[in-house]
């Protein structure tokens, strides 16, 4: 302790925390934090995590990616509806589904590119074909789908505007390849709606990875009900019978697949799906899906109620996608979701007599 003339300017001494050498104070955690706010001066000696810091990292994906999950689903389902309408001569449904799909996929692609760290390099996505990378396969699916649907939608826009697109001699070519474009939209539609589930699950993210067996069914159902919903909004009821049927099947699939998925997941890894904003989004998704599904089933022949039901279905699908994305990001921010399921499966394997595949070994 020194004494100087400047002592009068010293701030008051902070109260000493009873720490003696060789004896650490134990502090009870007041609540779980994501680590960034953790400012313990005396480390909590009872942690099993590293100061509550996350182990796996959340991917740098914002709402743009959730929007793409939704829009890609809408586009994929609409590709199927458009092709069915093309085959069965439902001209309005075909036109609206094609244009709706094209708008959705254009917006979705824009969102994807915007979320890249280097948007100027988006074409690098098509630099190679990698079987182990769902995003690589998805980029090709997206490209082929957009190509086909672009042709089909261009033909529709041309007809809609009374042949005013400056196509010249290309108009005949467009009319010739238009059915093939519609077919491409159907062939790549379902993969487009489903690959995003594999993309999320093929990660070390606790919640997404734990859902890897059943997330594709949730996404396929969600895409079906959303595409049906979009058709119910855009198209007169006389042509939307199949769209309503697809929507109702989508709702049934969505409800069953979501429950089944949550039931099969590790209970801790499933937690982020029930908590906070993702939890309420998922609850709203279920309510809106049920309401929209009932609306499509019972009131689908009235133009107004059909459109309202369609809107509910679209919102339900968007809620599901935002919830799943955010739940995964939340699960990566707390080490508990990484450590607890992993410890459990390790213990289970050891209990079953498998002791040779642990990353931690005694020698």
């Amino acid at each position: 302790m020194t004494v100087s003339d400047f002592d009068q300017f010293r701030p008051p001494e902070p109260e000493r925390r009873g720490r003696r050498f060789g004896k650490l104070r134990r502090k009870k955690r007041s609540g779980r934090t994501d680590g960034s706010a953790e400012m313990l001066m005396v480390p909590d000696v009872e942690f099993s995590s590293y100061y509550g810091h996350n182990i796996v990292k959340p991917p740098p994906w914002g709402p743009e990616i959730a929007a793409y999950l939704f829009l890609g689903g809408v586009a994929g389902g609409s590709g199927l509806l458009a092709y069915g309408a093309q085959l069965t001569g439902r001209k309005l449904l075909c036109r609206n589904a094609r244009i709706g799909a094209m708008v959705a996929i254009a917006l979705g692609s824009g969102a994807l590119i915007k979320d890249l760290g280097r948007p100027d390099r988006f074409l690098n996505m098509l630099r190679t074909i990698k079987v182990t990378s769902p995003m690589s396969l998805g980029s090709w699916i997206l490209t082929l789908y957009s190509g086909g649907m672009g042709v089909a939608a261009a033909a529709e826009v041309d007809r809609l505007t009374g042949g005013r697109l400056p196509l010249g001699p290309l108009r005949r070519a467009l009319t010739t390849v238009e059915p093939a474009g519609g077919l491409a939209g159907a062939v790549f539609g379902a993969p487009l709606a489903v690959y995003t589930a594999v993309l999320l699950s093929d990660t070390a993210n606790p919640t997404w990875n734990a859902a890897h067996r059943d997330l594709p069914f949730v996404f396929a159902s969600s895409a079906s009900l959303a595409a049906g919903g979009l058709a119910m909004v855009t198209t007169p009821t006389r042509e939307t019978g199949p769209a309503r049927a697809l929507a109702v099947m989508g709702v049934a699939g969505d409800l069953m697949a979501t429950r089944y998925m949550e039931g099969r997941m590790d209970p801790v890894a499933a937690e982020p799906l029930h908590q906070g904003r993702p939890g309420s989004l998922l609850r709203w998704s279920e309510r809106l899906a049920v309401a929209g599904g009932l609306g499509a089933l019972l009131l689908g022949r009235n133009r107004v109620t059909a459109a309202v039901s369609g809107g509910a279905l679209l919102t339900a699908s968007a809620c599901t996608r935002f919830a799943v994305l955010e739940a995964g990001i939340n699960s990566a921010k707390d080490p508990r979701y990484t450590v607890e399921p992993q410890r459990r499966r390790l213990e289970e394997r050891r209990a079953a007599g498998i002791t040779n595949d642990s990353i931690t070994t005694a020698g």
């Binding site: 060789g22 650490l24 953790e38 313990l40 480390p43 000696v45 099993s48 995590s49 100061y51 996350n54 182990i55 796996v56 990292k57 740098p60 994906w61 389902g77 069915g84 069965t88 890249l116 760290g117 390099r121 690098n124 190679t128 990698k130 079987v131 182990t132 769902p134 995003m135 690589s136 998805g138 379902a190 993969p191 489903v194 690959y195 699950s201 093929d202 990660t203 070390a204 067996r213 594709p216 396929a220 159902s221 199949p242 769209a243 697809l246 099947m249 699939g253 080490p335 990484t338 992993q342 410890r343 050891r350 040779n356 595949d357 642990s358 990353i359 931690t360 070994t361 005694a362 020698g363």
Partner: protein, 347 residues
């Protein structure tokens, strides 16, 4: 910096159907490198780490990595670095433990020995006559451990990278080609250890903008692309060892041929066990684990999660065949639903 054998390499590998999703393998051979180097890696012996952070500094200096974070004091013992990230490729963890925690660590290590794993050593190690009396249990200990990219045999980041920016080098390490990466961020989610990160304003990156936070810092290079430890690829091709290993004053960080390091690591654990320090254990030295073993191995003195390491990491790609099957089934279901909707008399 890096010529890119990746496209030809991966297409050839898949065409031959020989690329392995999981299980023991030589990663460089699996990636079809024509001229094979021996696999290189690290063995980080945390029992002799003194927490000087010279490895962190040497890494930053050599790789010209920008500042990470806001220069805040965390209160996590002497660790103000917090975690590995886009601009932090070595991270020294500090953990303060009391008597009870030391006992618990020793007990969990003893259980690991009792499990008799792995089977590799069961022959020679056990019979060694040794003084098994535990030494006086200290009241307090300070764990220090320098963490780094694991350079997994089956690397999640590499598998999920859509552009081929991440490649397997001839040394068996995993490297980002920063002129190819478009910053999609999939690798960040793909890494079971939370190592790789996108250097940008994304949700996972702390500081990126020059001069906006406390203190000034120069323009951040290689912004918006994924970044992680390269095992100093540029030094390796010149026959040098990585900067962190070169600078480590206690040889806690050892660099060398993977096979040699494995022997060193096992001998060191045995040595510590013979001293009664049963808390000593290896991390990443088992080629049968979820990532096929790691290129960077560690000797730990407590459970991995205490150091911020996952207790049972598994490369997500190992389950990819299941995911593709399930996705195919879901897509088929969707097609069937659409077919039923149109054929089933919907009007």
């Amino acid at each position: 910096m890096v010529s890119s054998p990746d496209t030809a390499q991966s297409v050839a590998a898949y065409a031959k159907g020989s690329h392995q999703f999981s299980g023991p393998t030589d990663p460089a051979a699996d990636a079809h490198w024509p001229h094979l180097q021996s696999r290189k890696g690290f063995f980080t012996d945390t029992s002799i780490c003194i927490g000087c952070k010279a490895c962190e500094v040497a890494c930053k200096e050599w790789n010209r990595n920008p500042r990470d974070g806001d220069l805040e004091l965390t209160g996590w013992s002497y660790d103000n670095t917090q975690a590995l990230g886009a601009s932090t490729w070595r991270h020294v963890a500090f953990i303060e433990q009391d008597h009870d925690r030391i006992e618990a660590a020793r007990e969990s290590g003893r259980q690991l020995v009792d499990l008799g794993m792995p089977t590799v050593r069961s022959g020679e190690g056990v019979s060694r006559p040794a003084d098994v009396t535990p030494p006086d249990t200290p009241e307090f200990r300070w764990l220090m451990a320098s963490d780094v990219c694991k350079h997994c045999t089956h690397a999640g980041c590499l598998d999920v990278c859509p552009t081929g920016a991440l490649i397997r080098t001839e040394f068996g390490s995993v490297v980002v080609q920063d002129d190819v990466c478009n910053g999609c961020g999939t690798c960040v989610a793909g890494c079971p250890f939370g190592v790789i990160e996108r250097r940008s304003d994304g949700t996972a990156a702390p500081t990126t903008r020059a001069g906006e936070r406390k203190g000034e810092q120069p323009e951040v290079p290689k912004r918006g692309v994924a970044q992680k430890c390269t095992l100093c690829y540029d030094r390796l091709v010149d026959g040098e060892e990585p900067a962190c290993a070169k600078t480590c004053p206690t040889t806690s960080i050892k660099y060398g041929d993977h096979a040699d390091l494995l022997v060193t690591a096992r001998d060191r654990v045995q040595q510590l066990h013979d001293q009664g320090l049963t808390e000593a254990r290896l991390y990443g030295a088992n080629e049968l684990d979820g990532v096929g073993g790691t290129g960077a191995m560690f000797l730990l003195l407590d459970e991995p999660e205490v150091y911020g390491l996952p207790p049972d990491p598994r490369v997500p790609t190992a389950d990819l065949p299941v995911m593709f099957r399930r996705a195919g089934l879901a897509a088929a279901g969707m097609l069937a639903a659409a077919a039923v909707a149109f054929l089933g008399g919907g009007r």
